[in-house]
Amino acid sequence: MPPLLKLILIRIGLGILTLFLVSVVVFAATQALPGDTARAILGKEAANVARYEALREQLGLNQPVAQQYVSWLGGVVVGDFGNSLVQKEPVTQLLARRVANSFVLVAIAALLSIPLSLLLGSITALRRDGKFDISVSIGSLSLAALPEFVTGIILILLFATQVFTWLPAVSHVDPTVPIFEQLDLFILPAITLTLAVAPYITRILRASTIEVLESEYVMMARLKGLPERLVLNRHAVPNALAPAIQVTALNLAWLAGGVVVVEFLFAFPGIGSLLVDSVANRDMPMVQAICLIIAAVYVLANLTADILTILVSPRLRTGLR
């Protein structure tokens, strides 16, 4: 087997292993529940022993834990997360619309933050210690520290309530209206996410670009007398591609978690706000489904990034031959 292929297969194997362990954690967490799911569904009616036992039987709670896990995982693999304890409907059905909304929100935030951080990261690295670099550095250091809800509330105060009232403070996306007709509802949440993630990514990118620019092969290319444009295009950029890909993955992984607080703040109907509601209602099947989805996004984003990195980075590619 070619070493490159082997490397990629090992990485995929590790990704699948991580996903499997993630599902174990999500399932095991609910086993720590004082009482069990049947008790949670019935509430006070659990005192009715006959009903309680019947429901336990129906939910398969009398089976050994390992068997319960296997049948749960079997359902998850084909997209069946069971029924919501609160709305009594299949989790998958309740989630579909929410996943779509969150996906659009994350996509907008990614489209704003990835080019922004790539641009700022490379400019600040090229003009290192210049005025622009210093102001971006101070700004990103401050913004990177702020929790998302702080940025979001300040944006609401500025643009939706106290200072200007240009944008809606609450994002009640109407499921009967196409998303592109209500994009104004996505603006503030998307900007909040962007302001939270872009500074962090910009800082990483600036550091890795500087590392490339100071590397021996770029110095060598310069010493050979190559024009600066060629040095950048042929030697610096290919080596900076790997960090750029990693950054995109980091960005997506971060956004998947960032939606929780931001959606709650804007009452945006996505999986993040649904997670908060489900945690408050102790709707375990829903919590399990959303936690799994978010963790899977993280694992898959990283996996894709690692594979792309293996394919594009000159050092890895040639080092293997």
């Binding site: 991580t18 954690v25 720590a32 250091l141 520290a145 809800f149 509330i153 105060l157 309530t161 997670l275």
Partner: protein, 306 residues
């Protein structure tokens, strides 16, 4: 650091102490170096100011935090009620003065737990290698796959919104990130002569980890502490904001934002002031962490390490 030169003569007599002393003073050097930067001074000043406010706040507060002093969402009135009243008629200024302690204390506790756990795991994996290293790192990868707030919410959904739980979970969610830093530092230190010497003397493994290696990796951990404290403040405040942290009628900055956010159009102060204070606090701790980080890089560059 030039370990060979420093250690070689003395190690036969007392291998660990000499070296550990040298490295022990390194974190003092880093603090001194960081203190020369303006950003560190600004960060420490702001952080100190807010901690002071949180500590003495309850003594200078004009009312009791649970006392009803005015109709809900009353506008600010000079001398009587500088920031107006909240959704239920409490004095906002009083609750702001009371509400900082919990955020800061819970965040500190979570950071200490995360550091303790992460450093222990980092030391063990960095020193043991092989299958222990491999399997622990795999498990940490799994924890890493959950965004910190999602991991915490997963367990809150099972056990309910308890303070000990959110502090513990925030700490646990920090652990893999801290462990990676500690592991990398340990890998490097474990090759040094003074560790080899201690091994040759038959010093027990636990003592090698905590008495020999740990004092030598405090510098990167110092930076980690500042960084994780910043995130802890944000996470703990966010959990209260989501309704899973401090519970009413407690006075807490995160909770205040949750309670009063629907009245933001009529009475912005009970939301804006806590938001501002949390924001400034995280900026301050991040400035300190950045100062320490820069000092660490600077010193490593000067002494030829890293």
């Amino acid at each position: 650091m030039n370990d060979e030169i420093i250690v070689s003569d003395s190690e036969l007599i007392e291998p660990a102490v000499t070296h550990a002393d040298v490295r022990r003073s390194e974190w003092l050097m880093i603090i001194a170096e960081a203190w020369r930067m303006r950003r560190t001074k600004i960060g420490v000043a702001i952080f100190g100011g807010i901690v002071l406010l949180a500590v003495i706040g309850p003594w200078i507060a004009p009312y009791s935090p649970t006392e009803f002093v005015a109709p809900p969402y009353s506008a600010p009135a000079p001398t009587a009620m500088w920031l107006g009243s909240d959704y239920i008629g409490h004095d906002v200024l009083t609750r702001v003065l009371y509400g900082g302690r919990t955020v800061i204390l819970l965040a500190l506790a979570a950071t200490v737990i995360g550091l303790g756990l992460g450093v222990t795991l980092g030391l063990i994996t960095g020193y043991a290698r092989r299958w222990i290293d491999e399997s622990v790192m795999r498990i940490l990868d799994v924890v890493l796959a959950f965004p910190q707030i999602v991991l915490t919410l997963l367990f809150v959904s099972v056990l309910g919104p308890r303070l000990w739980l959110i502090v513990l979970m925030v700490g646990i969610s920090h652990a893999p990130r801290i462990a990676r830093v500690a592991r990398a530092a340990t890998l490097e230190v474990a090759q040094r002569d003074f560790v080899r010497a201690a091994e040759a003397f038959g010093v027990p493994r636990r003592k090698i980890l905590f008495n020999e290696i740990l004092p030598s990796i405090t510098s990167p951990l110092l930076v980690e502490f500042g960084l994780r404290l910043t995130y802890s403040i944000g996470l703990i405040a966010a959990l209260s904001f989501l309704g899973f942290g401090m519970q009413p009628p407690a006075a807490d900055w995160g909770l205040m934002i949750n309670e009063n956010r629907l009245g933001i159009v009529i009475q912005p102060w009970p939301v804006f002031v806590p938001v501002l204070l949390i924001g400034i606090l995280t900026i301050a701790t991040n400035l300190i962490a950045d100062g320490l980080g820069r000092a660490l890089i600077g010193i490593e560059r000067d002494t030829g390490v890293g």
